[in-house]
Every structure is written in structure tokens, then in C-alpha cells.
Amino acid sequence: MPIAIGIDLVGYDEIAEALRRGDRYLRRIYTDEELDDCGASPRLLAACFAAKEATMKALSRTDQPIPWRSIELRMRHGAQPSLELTGAAASLALARGVSGLSVSVTHSSQSAAAIVLASTGEMS
């Protein structure tokens, strides 16, 4: 089963800078469900953003416009994090023949990182 990998790292200070722009930043980047999960926590928002960017890399985005809100990281308490694609991201995944996405996120005192595996072809 071929796989593609994407990875990204986001500093909490980068999120804090964007949060100074207020609601405009949050509404442009995150889904309602992510905002319910993350609130205004730079730590959690950094994980969300890293997962979105890692997904774009795993999907081998070239120069298509992919709105950040079309990739959603779900990380309900106690559950394994997962990804939900809609709109342009879902179309790109379909075009790439992606049959499954796996995500893992981690945190340090200063940043969050995410790695995404996109599998193509039949699941074994």
C-alpha cells in the first residue's frame, strides 16, 4: 500500500501573534468544531494548523488553492485524533487516490508538530 507523508511544526508564538488579529484569524483558518475543541489556546491551535499543513504536504499539493477550513483536525478528549476533509481538500484527496489518512500530533514547551500519512490504493 503506497503512502505519502507530510509533516509540519508550528511555534505557539506564531499563533499568539495571529490571535492578536482576533476573530478574523480564527474564522479564516479553523472550523467551528476545531474552535469548539481548541478555544483560543495557542497550544491546541498550533496542533490544528500543523495537522492542516502536514495534510497538504501529504496530498502533494502543487499550486491548487486549498482553504485551511477544508481540512479539519478532530481531537476530542480521550479519542485518537483524526482528519476530516471537505471541499477542495476532499477533491484533491480523491484525485490523488487517497483511501485513508492517519495523523499524529505532539507538543513541546514551544511548539506543536503533526505528521500525516496518506495511504493510496486498497487498504490491506
Binding site: D8, L9, V10, G11, E14, I15, E17, A18, R21, R24, Y25, R28, I29, A46, F49, E53, R61, D63, Q64, P65, I66, P67, W68, A88
Partner: protein, 84 residues
Amino acid sequence: MSATAEEIRRVLRDHARLPVDVDSIDDQADLFRAGMSSHASVNVMLALEDAFDVEFPDSMLKRSVFESVAGIDAAIQELQKRAA
């Protein structure tokens, strides 16, 4: 250098977190290769919207728009033309 390009470079200086002096970068140089992170490009986008009183639509949320001073300049001009 045009006033637009000068303002773009000011935004990059303040928000792109480049490890090099933005004035040492050519208009066509790839800002991501120069060290701009994906989230820094978001901070640049928001700052550009404030500086030029424009809003980048979803159709412009792609790498080529933000990867160089020239690409940003072209996008700003396009947005200003649409708003005129």
C-alpha cells in the same frame, strides 16, 4: 522600488520571520525556501490585508501567491483592481 513593493517588504520584515534581511532578497526569490514557515505566511497574509485594506479570497490561497515579493505584489494589484 514601488510604494506597494516597499510596503510588502515592511510586512515581510515584521511578520515573515525570515532568518535573512528581507532587503537582501530578490523580488522573485522563493520566500519559503528563504525560511518563511507556512504559519508565518498566514501572519503575512493577515498583515497585508490590514496594510492594503483587501481580503484574499479562497482562490488566492495558494503557494504561488505568497512565495515571492513579486507574487504578492501581483495579487495585491489584482485585488485593488477588482475593488476599484
